[in-house]
């Protein structure tokens, strides 16, 4: 049951965004008796609404409001208006995500210490470490019912995985499996088992994959302590003379401006919208935007070093049959500078349908080199590569000075250029990825450029020292006591792993902290 809270109820925690960070935080607080209003810019869609058609689903769920791009990354040329592929819906990008759920490696919490001085990189150690996070990871794995943790079985391997595994073993890789996935291998927690339908990116119609849209959100609502307002887009966070935040202005579903008072505000709009909101909330007291005394709001934008490799064989693979991300090789995830770069990368199988393959295989390409590759679509196997990219101060989110959204608010400009370390890592990964398919007899391999960003991190980073970042070890703004950041934008560094398990673990930990602070009247 949704609990209706009054706009002038200044006792509520207001959470902006209901994805991996916001959705989990909302439920965890509600379960512990805290009153929560969650504002979500997108609409509500459940498994029965999801469409197993790539473009139609994209139109249904993706954030397609304008954004602008700059920098030398290829996405700025290929997808100038679509720098990121993220979701605008209740549940956020957890409707789209593939479900790969990995913990950081211990050294990745302390990248500055382990990688040393890397020219041009703004490396910083997290103010927390692996030991601190271990119990929260365990709770997060339990919440998501991650396979190969807590005694749960792994998923069976589909065709795309079997090709990948055979090549990996031929190359001597050892850490090869169907991975740790937030996808049920058996019915669990009111979610069905995976049916290998192959549309994980379009929202799982079986509910086999975890998404906050149909787990945490309705469970939080069932407590009576959580009200989710969908199609409610936060525009500005307000503050009082004492510098504490007091409420959030938002546009409701009819486009009318409303103001929800708040005791605490938690920002979880993903790494573009969260800094945008802080910057758009600039005031005479905070002329550079909220929580921005360090000047780091919007900076250090990370998107993971990504790439894909597709292999073409002389016989059918039918990679689209089965889970979209169906397996992983972890041998290259280690930090081993002898390869010519710091940090490491994961290789994970990936399958796209024909429509997305045509759009993403080599954007802008035409002619027979391109079309003969697509002619062999049925004989293709594919993998995605995801590695740690270097935080750079100049890679950043700023407010556009020319483009505004439908509410008249400046949209974000996303500026990104690869660091030489990112390029060296990508080239290494292209080589290894191709070698894997060559080892199974590929007749052709296709080193495929990065897609619009699905992992967006770092733009409100966590730091020990208030001068180095935006939030402290709890995700609490250094500058403002009752303002929190609860999504992937608090990442100090990106690590090689897909980020969502860490976002969820941090949100659970933050909920625990906020409950404590509320109880001890510090909030």
């Amino acid at each position: 049951m949704a609990a209706p809270f009054e706009l002038n109820d200044n006792n509520v925690v207001v959470i902006i965004g209901t994805g991996a960070g916001g959705g989990v935080l909302a439920n965890e607080l509600a379960q512990q008796g805290v009153s929560v209003v969650a504002l979500e810019a997108g609409g509500r869609y459940l498994p029965q609404d999801y469409v197993n058609d790539e473009w139609e689903s994209f139109g249904q769920l993706a954030w397609t409001d304008p954004r602008t791009t700059s920098g030398d990354w290829r996405v700025a040329k290929d997808f100038a208006g679509l720098p990121a592929w993220i979701v605008k819906a209740v549940g956020g990008s957890t409707t789209h995500w593939a479900g790969a759920s990995l913990r950081f490696q211990a050294h990745e919490w302390k990248s500055a210490t382990h990688y040393g001085e890397v020219e041009g990189a703004n490396l910083l150690d997290w103010p927390i470490d692996a030991a601190e996070m271990a119990p929260w990871y365990e709770k997060a794995e339990e919440k998501l019912r991650v396979t190969r943790t807590g005694g749960r079985e792994g998923l069976p391997g589909c065709n795309n995985y079997l090709v990948f595994e055979k090549g990996a073993k031929a190359l001597g890789y050892e850490e090869v499996s169907t991975g740790r996935m937030a996808i049920n291998s058996e019915p669990n927690d009111d979610r069905l088992a995976c049916r290998q339908t192959g549309f994980c990116f379009q929202g799982c119609k079986w509910g086999a994959k975890w998404s906050s849209a149909y787990t945490d959100i309705p469970r939080g609502e069932a407590t009576g302590n959580l009200e989710v307002r969908d199609r409610a887009q936060a525009a500005r966070i307000l503050h009082g003379d004492d510098g504490k935040v007091t409420g959030v202005e938002y546009f409701d579903q009819d486009g009318n401006l409303q103001m929800q008072q708040a005791r605490v505000v938690c920002v979880a709009g993903n790494s573009y919208e969260s800094p945008r909101l802080l910057l758009n909330s600039a005031s005479s007291m905070f002329p550079d935007g909220l929580a921005n005394s360090s000047g780091q709001v919007g900076r250090n934008y990370m998107r993971h070093m990504t790439a894909s490799v597709y292999g073409i064989f002389d016989k059918p693979v039918k990679m689209w049959r089965g889970t979209t991300m169906a397996g992983i090789i972890q041998d290259e995830a280690r930090h081993d500078p002898s390869r010519g770069f710091v940090g490491g990368y994961e290789m994970e199988t990936l399958a796209l349908g024909l429509p997305f393959m045509a759009a993403f295989l080599n954007p802008g390409a035409w002619g027979r080199e391109f079309t003969t590759a697509l002619d062999s679509y049925e004989n293709m196997a594919g993998m995605w590569i995801v590695g740690e990219d270097m935080p750079q101060e100049t890679n950043r989110i700023t407010l556009s000075d020319s483009v505004k959204d439908q509410f008249g608010l400046p949209v974000v400009d996303v500026h990104f250029s690869d660091h030489p370390n990112d390029i060296a890592m990508r080239n290494h990964a292209y080589q290894q990825g191709s070698a894997i398919y060559d080892a199974v007899g590929a007749t052709r391999t296709l080193p495929t450029p990065p897609y619009p960003s699905t992992h967006n991190l770092g733009t409100n980073r966590m730091s020990e020292n208030p001068g180095d970042g935006v939030v402290n070890q709890w995700g609490r703004a250094h500058d403002i006591l009752n303002l929190y950041v609860s999504d992937g934008s608090q990442f100090t560094s990106g690590a090689a792993e897909n980020p969502t398990l860490t976002i969820v673990a941090l949100a659970m930990r933050q909920a625990d902290h906020i409950v404590g602070e509320l109880a001890s009247k510090n909030l």
Binding site: L162, G322, T371
Partner: protein
């Protein structure tokens, strides 16, 4: 858009009130592949025909050939390319498209051909296209094809792609791991 926007002469002779023979009688050959007549474009063997409303039939035929040369798939019939560019046959789009095709024919003439459609080899047509590839016209047509061509459901089986599987219970019992050559 679906393949239904087509007039299939064989199947629906009544639709445009013409038999195959009558159609071919009223048509003139435009290239090896196409014939045109008043307000329509057809395959030379009259396997299909489509009405053309806002564009000149010659312009539309050139656009279809251009679409195929950008994304050539020999096992994909012209009807899919026609469908992919049919959306430009409107009053609003026509002036820009006519202008773009004029540009294309001018580029062909610079290379001593009569016009784009008269160029016999794909390789030579591609050389003409390359001279235009940075123009907004080329980019518009190419960009539109990415979804206009490849997002036609009827085309997917030609590439083996099976589309949605939810209605059949996924692939768990239908070959998700049936690879037999590894």
């Amino acid at each position: 858009m679906t393949a239904e926007t087509f007039i299939r002469i064989d199947k629906h002779p009544e639709k445009n009130g013409m038999t195959r023979r009558e159609l071919l009688k009223s048509a003139t050959a435009l290239s090896a592949a196409f014939v045109v007549g008043p307000g329509f474009l057809a395959a030379s063997n009259a396997a299909w025909a489509t009405e053309v409303e806002a564009l000149k039939p010659e312009t539309f035929a050139t656009l279809v050939q251009m679409a195929r040369d950008i994304y050539p798939h020999d096992h994909v019939g012209d009807e899919f390319y026609v469908n992919a560019v049919k959306g430009y046959d409107t009053k609003e789009a026509a002036p820009d498209i006519e202008q773009g095709i004029r540009l294309l024919n001018a580029a062909a003439r610079l290379k001593q051909y009569d016009n784009y459609l008269s160029i016999g080899w794909e390789r030579d047509r591609v050389k003409v296209l390359e001279t235009l590839q940075s123009t907004p016209f080329f980019q518009r047509i190419r960009g539109g094809l990415v979804t206009g061509l490849y997002n036609q459901k009827a085309l997917w089986p030609l590439f083996g792609y099976e589309g949605e599987s939810f209605s059949q219970g996924g692939y768990l019992d239908r070959g998700f791991n049936d690879i037999n050559w590894l």
